[in-house]
Point group: C2
Chain length 875, copies 2
Amino acid sequence: MKYVYSFKDGNKDMRDLLGGKGANLAEMTNIGLPVPQGFTVTTDVCKEYIKSEGKLSSEILSQIDDELRNLENISGKKFGNYKKPLLVSVRSGSPISMPGMMDTILNLGLNDEIVEKYAVISENARFVFDSYRRLIQMYSDVVMNLPKSSFERKLDDYKQSHNIELDTELTIDNLKEIINIYKEEYKKLVGKEFPQSPYEQLLEAVKAVFRSWNNERAITYRKLNNISDSLGTAVNVQEMVYGNMGDDCGTGVAFTRNPATGEKKLFGEYLINAQGEDVVAGIRTPESIDKLKVSMPECFKEFERICNVLEKHYKDMQDMEFTIEHNKLFMLQTRNGKRTGQAAVKIAVDLVSEGMISKEEALLRVEPETLNQLLHPTFDKTLIKDKKEITKGLAASPGAATGKIYFDEKSLIKAHDTGEKDLILVRLETSPEDIEGMTIANGILTVRGGMTSHAAVVARGMGTCCVSGCSEVSINEKNKTMTVNDITLNEGDWISLDGSTGFVYGEKLETKDAEISGDFGTFMSWTDEFKKLDIRANADTPKNAIDALKLGAKGIGLCRTEHMFFSKERIFNFRKMICSETKEEREKALDNILPFQQSDFEKLFETMNGFPVTIRYLDPPLHEFLPKTESEIEALATSLNITYDKLKARIDSLKEFNPMMGHRGCRLDITYPEIAKMQTKAVIMAAISSIKKGIIVKPEIMIPLVGDINELKFVKDIVNQTANEILEQENIKLDYKVGTMIEIPRAVVIADKLAEEAEFFSFGTNDLTQLTYGFSRDDSPKFIKDYFTNNIFKTDPFKSVDEEGVGALVQVATNLGRKTRKDIELGVCGEHAGDPQSIEFFNKIGLDYVSCSPFRVPVARLAAARSAIKQCNSK
Amino acid sequence: MKYVYSFKDGNKDMRDLLGGKGANLAEMTNIGLPVPQGFTVTTDVCKEYIKSEGKLSSEILSQIDDELRNLENISGKKFGNYKKPLLVSVRSGSPISMPGMMDTILNLGLNDEIVEKYAVISENARFVFDSYRRLIQMYSDVVMNLPKSSFERKLDDYKQSHNIELDTELTIDNLKEIINIYKEEYKKLVGKEFPQSPYEQLLEAVKAVFRSWNNERAITYRKLNNISDSLGTAVNVQEMVYGNMGDDCGTGVAFTRNPATGEKKLFGEYLINAQGEDVVAGIRTPESIDKLKVSMPECFKEFERICNVLEKHYKDMQDMEFTIEHNKLFMLQTRNGKRTGQAAVKIAVDLVSEGMISKEEALLRVEPETLNQLLHPTFDKTLIKDKKEITKGLAASPGAATGKIYFDEKSLIKAHDTGEKDLILVRLETSPEDIEGMTIANGILTVRGGMTSHAAVVARGMGTCCVSGCSEVSINEKNKTMTVNDITLNEGDWISLDGSTGFVYGEKLETKDAEISGDFGTFMSWTDEFKKLDIRANADTPKNAIDALKLGAKGIGLCRTEHMFFSKERIFNFRKMICSETKEEREKALDNILPFQQSDFEKLFETMNGFPVTIRYLDPPLHEFLPKTESEIEALATSLNITYDKLKARIDSLKEFNPMMGHRGCRLDITYPEIAKMQTKAVIMAAISSIKKGIIVKPEIMIPLVGDINELKFVKDIVNQTANEILEQENIKLDYKVGTMIEIPRAVVIADKLAEEAEFFSFGTNDLTQLTYGFSRDDSPKFIKDYFTNNIFKTDPFKSVDEEGVGALVQVATNLGRKTRKDIELGVCGEHAGDPQSIEFFNKIGLDYVSCSPFRVPVARLAAARSAIKQCNSK
């Protein structure tokens, strides 16, 4: 078995084995690009290492040894030799990119003896000693897990006591002394000398990378990004090249196109006389790649050529790392670049018009979830033009955000936990430790760091608005204040960020919703060419319906009628209905609600002209509509003109032990048929009134929580009787459908019978998941985390449909339903309807539509199109 | 289509069409017994009458007419003719007997003219007028639904004003005047004259009987007895014979064997010079049938002969009504007699030893539910012999009862609603209106009425203890007291009844449980010859287990381990465990519980020596174990040595919105693996200790609430690891099984996978029903009554398994489970396991066992045997 691959033995399709970085280093090697040579230890070794709890077999060791020899031959250098010492880097590289999540060690191959002797014969003795210092520091941190701060403090103490400000001012003697201090510290903390065997250094570094696969940051990142824990990481061992050997050296990162906007123009940054990590860490603010043209024109030309080769080769925008060592350009990495949703869409559309890819490929290029970013709010242009920014940074991740500022993750999470929704994280620079806070925040502001700093990369990945490099801002972490141009803001004060311009405003600004137009419009129109599933929206108000229509919904798949009862004048009558003692009283109260409900339905019909509108009858238990606090109860009693005690007794009588499984859904109609009657009146009268205005009306009346055929028959009879009465009276013909939710497991079992009465099924996968698992959605978050910790669940069944259980039931009901009624309409209206993974499943089993919240409609459209394309490709 | 059958055209197998009474009248006619002739209007007519909302087609009317002519020919009398007037009775008779639930009208065929003229030529003018008076009174009540009391009051007023005490003192003139008063009252209330057309009387009476099918009493009775509403009743029109024409007349009811004990001896009562209804109504206390031998020896001999013929013919104990008109015996009805459980068993066993029926037939003769009566408590003989009864009545329905006395149904129900459990209903006599109270009461005492009075018949049917005919007792309904032999008892005072001896005690007496022996033992031993299902018991304590074993359980199918935590010393440590903050604290608290649990298991193993013991691991949510009231919380906080606030916070943090679907079952073990570990230790250590005593131990460890294969694996790993460690240490071999409950719908879907890990499935049909329907068992009773009212449900799915839904899932899991593991052990441990109808289903789909509460074991054994026999017969 081959455990170790020389770069020339791999290619880009071997990501699973070599990791993304390794595969692409191999690919670049093989298309003749300048890559420092090396080899990759495979992900299989990582898996074995974890399984064997930290052992590497002799076969593996021997293959590493062979490849090291091979690298010595290629480079003409020797590992552990002081004359032409081969120095290598050890870097992680997993099949799916996890930027900054795992570890890197540089300058491996030095020891006391080599440094002493090599310094003498090399042209840059100071550089040799500094490299050794860096090695000890990095090794201590990454391999030995010693506290970073203790080495940093030693260095700071030394500089202070010697009155030195910058690292570059350190002399060779200084460095020698620091090396001794470091080695002493190492010995003190580890109990052993710093290893003098370069080979030992190398092996320990490789193992450290494997271990880093399971560090907390990496685990969190995988969880957040749904990456399997079982992939493992590869390790790349590569000859060192140095961007920090003088002013004819440098290092940088660049994208072939703009990753924020998608613009077709080289985009990136570099630092002269610096190592790669300096760019990514955001400690020094780098120069724009454009400047390279001026400072190193030959290198720039070569770089442009390579960019072109890479884009043509990979047929996608590339994200590259390079180093220039004494005017010679080396490519250290290339990969398909991460991008904002906006950029993803623009690049996909551009690549199609450039003839590089097909529309299908374009659709497959954009992850549905990233569209969310295009739907992020922006500031109203007319509003903004009168506002004066307090400062300007880099437009690192687009969108607009407004919120209260917090200076550390802990305070921000605390504020979030107490219910604050609009939060902005303000940091000098962010680090992987800030992940959770960055996930929660509306927006991120950093003082340091460029477009490719940690904050910028992560924020773009999350679709969170970010302004980085706000160098005018100074932060006082102790007092929790930020100051910019004489303005001081305290923790909890409002600011607003424009991630598309970089402007920062010192106040709360309203944001507005995005629209589908331009490239986005073109792209979305392609989804309609390929998808088989219709996309409807869940919309309870005319405003929802308008949004849904704009975003491409072809109908309403779920109108939750109870949401229409909550406004002030309506809730009163609804409560009156609940507190009625006789059917007559109830009917009177319902009569007062009827006009409101009817007018809402009218507006929905008019908005959805020609598209179906699925109206779900009253679903929640009645106690949800009643007040909870004593004073509210008192007030209601007064306005209902009954005693407090009587109202309290009614409220108490409605209390339930398990309301999720209580008196709700169609069960309410069986006890109070007059509710279904009123709702039918409202639907039918609204339809008639709309028809009279020339609107095409397609009402679909949906009975919730059906588990028995007689429940459905009972409510359907009320619907038909009430509707026919009105329609006959008005002498109007109206095609309306009556159908049922499938959300009770029993409904699945008897779906063939239900289909005799139901013209459509709408799968309520939220409740179906609750009942199929016996998981209360309100309670399970408390213990479901233990399910993730113990690897019992991989994904949350409330997020993506559980194909094995709930999905199997959906499939059963689909088959049974179609057996009885060939043309039965089948849809999903649970939250899974907006989840791409679930949509793929619903597409596969051949449902007719999914219905999600309006702002998920574009995501669902794209997911549906991709599912159809994938299904077609796999045939 | 034939709507009306002459008695000679029917037979006993036509119950569905002719009703039980009609079919048996036809059968008796055809085997040559003396039956007043007549005809039966079929149940089909009843269904048509109800469907058409009160119409009878001309075809039906013409067939009635034809059979009336036919009856005139047979009897030699003429309907509506004054010379030889044909008088008929109209009686209901449904396919399943509903004693006293529907209506009867007698003496139809009289009018003013016929009465006047017939009185002249008949030998008994007074009787003719009295018959007419009775007809008007009965017709007004039953056919016209006029208030009974208004006619009774008119009669009382008349008697009072004429100084007459007994009805028999009324002269012909008195009767004529009363007839006029009645007719006036009739006209006043109805607005029309009393109908003079005998044919109209007949038709209206027939319709009234059909209507009575849907009167409230009848509906309630059917609901209580699980009789379908769709059966309908037939109507029997029969020539009148009179037991009230003098002292050579009489009427009675009798059983061929004793319906209370099963003794093979004619048993019954009669009244001289009385109509049939007088016996049933319990207004006069009748003579024992033995006395008939003396008073009318010829009639008695004939009756004995007929009894013999009937028993041989029907091969079962008969319940008969007869009338003697001028020394001539007429049989008015025969049917298989209702009997107590004790009698049912004895008769079945006797019939087998008499060679009349087979063992299989004997088992099919006894409804499983009736065995409950044999398991009813009795008084301890040694205790009773020192007690002096306050009075003695008839031993109308066996068993012993003790409770507080109530004199009306309303007060009794009210007491029941406030939580009183031990109640005795004390009444002058009971009527069908008392049904609900009789259902609730432990026992019934009546002052009037014999062994066949309403109270006696109904109580025997229900298996409720009853002492009737306590003629020494006087009741003051106004003051709510009863007085007997100078002792006065008030509402709420305790008495005790012995339904097997008729003794009444004026105090609370302890009762003791029944045993299986004698005929009952023989009978139960037969069940084992035929049943295929094993019967286990749900038992949580050694006491339960001993009871279960006595009653024939072959193992424990469900030991709810949490029930072991509730005693005082244990609950403290359990609460301490719940309130622990670290795993170590929790383990310490669990260590304290371990010895208790282990010793309980030891006792169970020892009791069940050789039989399997299924141990379910902790199931309920933890909050169920914590105190609710402030003072309890304070006390616990003190003894746990933590602050009130801290404990309150912990309690609050455990609160759940839907605890049924919350953190319980195996979900607890995933959060707190140490619980499963402790429980495994207790099981294994108890097993080892029992094995060392020579006990054969078969533990089956059952993981509750599994919905995912990883849940089962996780807990099973803990079990196996913990068990193996102990067993290796002790060097003992122990075969234990690990299995799972199937109670989550998802478990059904993945049952094939679960069977890879589970050695047995136990269907928890309680929770499976809750989740399959989405019905919270705690909440659904509030609205499920509307489901019955609206005919959405026929039976309560928590009582009998819902074969279409839940049953189908059990079938699916059974198939999937066996597909993976051919010999997987399959059982049911929900409450359905003790329900005969459900057992029939579980037998049909071939499960291995059912496990019910100890006192249901005999019922389940019989139900299992009957199911197997029926299944065999139907092949």
